[in-house]
Amino acid sequence: MADIAATEAPAAALPGEADKGTLRLHRAIMIGIAIALVIAPFVAYPVFVMKVLCFALFALAFNLLLGYGGLLSFGHAAYFGMASYVCAFTAKNWGLTPELAILLGTAVSGGLGLVFGALAIRRQGIYFAMITLALAQMVYFFSLQTPRFTGGEDGIQAVPRGHLFGLINLADDRTLYWLVAAIFMAGLLAIYRIIHSPFGQVCKAIRDNEPRAISLGYRANQYKLAVFVLSASLAGLAGSTKAIVFQLASLTDVHWSMSGEVVLMTLVGGLGTVFGPIAGAIVIVSMQNYLAGLGAWVTVVQGVIFVICVMTFREGLVGVISKWIRKPL
């Protein structure tokens, strides 16, 4: 049974017992994040911040599945990458406006998630991880072998950023930033809402004790599939946005190392915490940025972080803070 999150992270409070303090704290954090988003482009390089935001949203989506569905997917790159291809392709070749291209990418990922999810949830735990990995590898080969759609190893380059709603020119980094920040915030709020909805509560119940949830009359598989599709769609949203930001969709986005990276971000930030993946994404993306000159050592450093996190730091950054202040984060 995949109780990976349940054993380590402090269980999120149920709505009934959620004390006002926790809610107030979460609201304060949300406002804090919003303020940070407003300040960020003025103190840091906007393209870098946008990259962090895309990956943070990706990690949040992944964590929705792992932390609250109890399912460790090792193939989330498939949804991220497929959406980024669809978004880039439609924006470039069909001339769709960015918001439509992003939505279409997200929808396609959701559809892919529905198919793959239906297959993968037939097995649990380690098998689930291997199946998602193998399915994602199939998507990778598909992308490699259909250059007409994906541009093969060259990827889809020079994707136009276009005009939002056909009106606002996104060519300027600052202008685009506000769109990305808005998408991120919307994604974060949506995930927060899902986790704290009755649906989210049932998912957690299934994660913690599936037979019990089934005996209570919940159709566990349908809930699992639903959370899988939600997670895949949100990963797709992140991937589509990334395609617009970097004007590029490439094989990197569908490769298994991308799936590994998102696991790492979530692990560093804290599995099963609401805000952990954001912290994890900031840490890992900055690390990649600053260590880029080190070449192969980046892989080694990532591996070491993996090992350290698993051995001694399973709660992750936010998990530790959460334990410390004794409030779920």
Binding site: I126, I131, F142, V307
Partner: protein, 295 residues
């Protein structure tokens, strides 16, 4: 009859044989994964990196110490197995009590470290390793030219696979092992040192990967990335076979190699994906895998 879908039977036999050769690698690797999974309940993501280490140890033996292929074939699995024992004792043991998915994450991290270190040291373009003199050349079978070395790969891996099967299913040590798989606590109560058994099992499974690495060194380039992509295919093989039985892992490995070989003749574009497609089909029909016991 003699022209099957436009492919002459000679070519077909050739491809079947080549498929078996690739299947040998799948079989040894998935066997190692199955042995480890049986007792430790973890999926060893480091397996690909350990396969690569086997090839590199053979290369280092030859180039630094002048040790030839045949000795390396024994030595490299021991060295790789020893590093595996160290990993089990130092790391895996300490997380045995938490969710087994952490084992997957840990071994994934280890794979990144090992591959990164080798890439730093040896570069990525690969190193040459010659086929041992005794096995150079080949024999003309009429329908194809079979290099001796390829034939040797099939024989060697069959022997190793069957020996492993015999060890686990027919010997006293194997009986302990199976007992510990079923119920570690009870087995321990009977005075069997289960933690030692676990350590040795991991070492053994890893040594199998190292052995496959040495076998691969003369035909594939000795390269830090050689195991990274292979391991994902082997995962699919394991999902198809189900990890319940040793024999299942062996049979699945060989037969999927065969299927892949045939795909290369009839529709080469799909040969990279055919195993994954089979995996999807098997999941639809038999979620527990062909040889797996239903959970």
């Amino acid at each position: 009859m003699f022209e099957l879908l436009g492919v002459p039977p000679q070519a077909l036999f050739g491809q079947v044989l080549l498929g078996l050769i690739n299947g040998s690698f799948y079989a040894i690797l998935s066997l190692g994964l199955a042995v480890i999974f049986g007792l430790l309940n973890i999926i060893n993501f480091t397996h690909g990196a350990q396969y690569m280490m086997g090839a590199f140890v053979a290369w280092m033996c030859l180039n630094y110490l002048g040790i030839n292929y045949w000795v390396a074939l024994l030595l490299a699995p021991l060295v790789v197995g020893a590093t595996g024992i160290a990993i089990e004792r130092l790391l895996l043991k300490r997380i045995a009590h938490v969710d087994h998915l952490y084992g997957l994450l840990l071994t994934f991290g280890l794979a990144l470290i090992i591959q990164g270190l080798f890439r730093n040291e040896f570069g990525s373009s690969g190193l040459p390793y010659q086929i041992p003199a005794e096995l150079r050349g080949g024999v003309n079978l009429g329908f194809m030219f079979l290099p001796w070395y390829r034939g040797w790969v099939v024989v060697a891996s069959l022997v190793v696979c069957l020996a492993t099967w015999f060890l686990i299913e027919k010997t006293r040590l194997g009986a302990y092992l199976r007992a510990a798989t079923e119920n570690p606590t009870l087995t321990q109560a009977f005075g069997i040192n289960v933690p030692l058994l676990v350590t040795l099992t991991y070492g053994f499974g890893v040594a199998l990967a190292g052995f496959a690495g040495v076998l691969a060194a003369p035909i594939y380039s000795v390269n830090p990335n050689m195991g990274a992509d292979l391991i994902i295919v082997v995962f699919a093989v394991v999902v198809i076979g189900g990890m319940g039985s040793i024999l299942g892992a062996i049979v699945t490995g060989f037969s999927l190699g065969l299927v892949e070989g045939l795909t290369k003749v009839f529709y080469p574009e799909a040969s990279a994906t055919v195993i994954f497609i089979i995996m999807v089909l098997v999941l639809l029909v038999r979620p527990a895998g062909l040889f797996g016991r239903a959970a």
